[in-house]
């Protein structure tokens, strides 16, 4: 036998070949149960669209705007910071980071906490 040769038993080939399909399905399952963090704003954007189908009240992201939010809103989203006062008196939706954000500057109520993503969705009255 050549020193470089490798004996691959059929069971070993099957086990190793199916590792990735099994891992990917498991990953999806865990992610859908909220056990794994998936960095994407898809769920939040969908929630905003379902609660605001005409997009009359805009969606803002506080302090940080993930690219996926731009992708899923097709560019209809803006980043604001805590000093932003032009919103006073207008209703709007605000995405606030779960741990680093603070929406107390405005009169907001929590509307949606996606299991995937790191932002929560608030409805604010300005």
């Amino acid at each position: 036998m050549n020193i470089f040769s490798l004996n691959l038993r059929p069971a070993l080939i099957i086990a190793m070949a199916l590792l990735m399909p099994v891992a990917s399905v498991s990953f999806l399952g865990l992610a859908s149960m909220g056990e794994l963090e998936m960095l994407s704003e898809k769920d939040l954007v969908h929630a905003w669209r379902s609660m605001e189908p005409e997009s009359a009240r805009p969606l803002y992201y506080l302090n940080y705007l993930p690219v996926s939010a731009r992708f899923y809103t097709q560019g209809q989203v803006i980043k604001i910071d805590s000093a932003f006062t032009d919103l006073l008196g207008h209703g709007f939706w605000l995405a606030v980071h779960k741990t680093k954000g603070d929406a107390s500057r405005w009169n907001c109520s929590l509307q949606f906490q996606p299991r995937r993503g790191i932002f929560d969705l608030y409805l604010c009255n300005g």
Partner: protein, 351 residues
Amino acid sequence: MNTRPLWILLFIILLVRLLTTGLFPVLDTTEARYAEISRLMLASGDWVVPQVREGVPFWAKPPLFAWMTAGSFKILGISDFSARLPHFLLGLATLWLVLRLARFELPPGRSLLSLVILASTPLFFASAGTVMTESGLMFSTTLSMTGFWLFTSTNEQRWGLLFFAGLGLGMLAKGPIAVVMTLLPLVLWASTGKHWRKLLGLPWLGGLIVTAVITLPWYLAAERQSPGFLEYFIVGEHLLRFVQPGWRGDLYGNAHIEPLGMIWLLWFQATAAWGVLMALVAGRYCVHQFRNRSWSWPRCSDWQSYLAWWMLAPLLFFTFSSNILWTYVLSGIPAFALLLATQSHTDSLKQ
């Protein structure tokens, strides 16, 4: 012999990959950025200079990924599935190239085994269905390496020209690094095996014209429409990015700072259990040589050394770079799968 079990395995792997491409959202930050650039390409109607935000050019990568994804958006509409489908198809095309190459050198069972190995490596599995530039790079380098080997084996000009077409596509997929990832293994193979005549025998004049026809129109149009692109992309992205740790010229993200040599560990992440098997074979060889107090260069066929250099090229190149990602080893993964299948013998694959 019965190759049916291997076909079934391959079918299961690809089916799961296809079905899962649309089941999870486009992820921040890299994939979402490439998907958004593609969406903006379609929305703006500007198919020459990709944009990272409206009116802001994206100079960091050539446009092949955006052309594919934007084209898919145009045909299928904007969705997670349509964003990833072109990259899955590129993965299929790469598998076909590997099969074409394998069948020239290996019996049917091992040819098919190489596809099963390739398709089930974590990096290939991930890239064949992720919006990124690496799937285009892998396809183009595989096209060139397949073209070169078949050219040297058959002396048919069309394979030689295919080698240069791969270089051109690589320039549109990832830029000059595609040429490096193709020429580096060939130079090492020619140097260590005295194959310079084969390398120099390529149809260089006609081939370079093919490469230029594929490459130059877009590069010139992009520089004309967006002055400064070439300096940023060629000097910044391909030189300073790798030689300056924490390069601050990155307009679109942060540099990735890893310890030197980390690319070798990332290779294990990319190949997982298959890579461990390969390492065991290499380790066994080292032990054998140590016991015999013999440190001669391993005796390999031209085919084996060709695959070995192809596989090792990205590892050697990025060993001294700290600004790396695990995806950087992807261009060598098809060679890894072919080499592992070449070295394998199993009762189920007896010819």
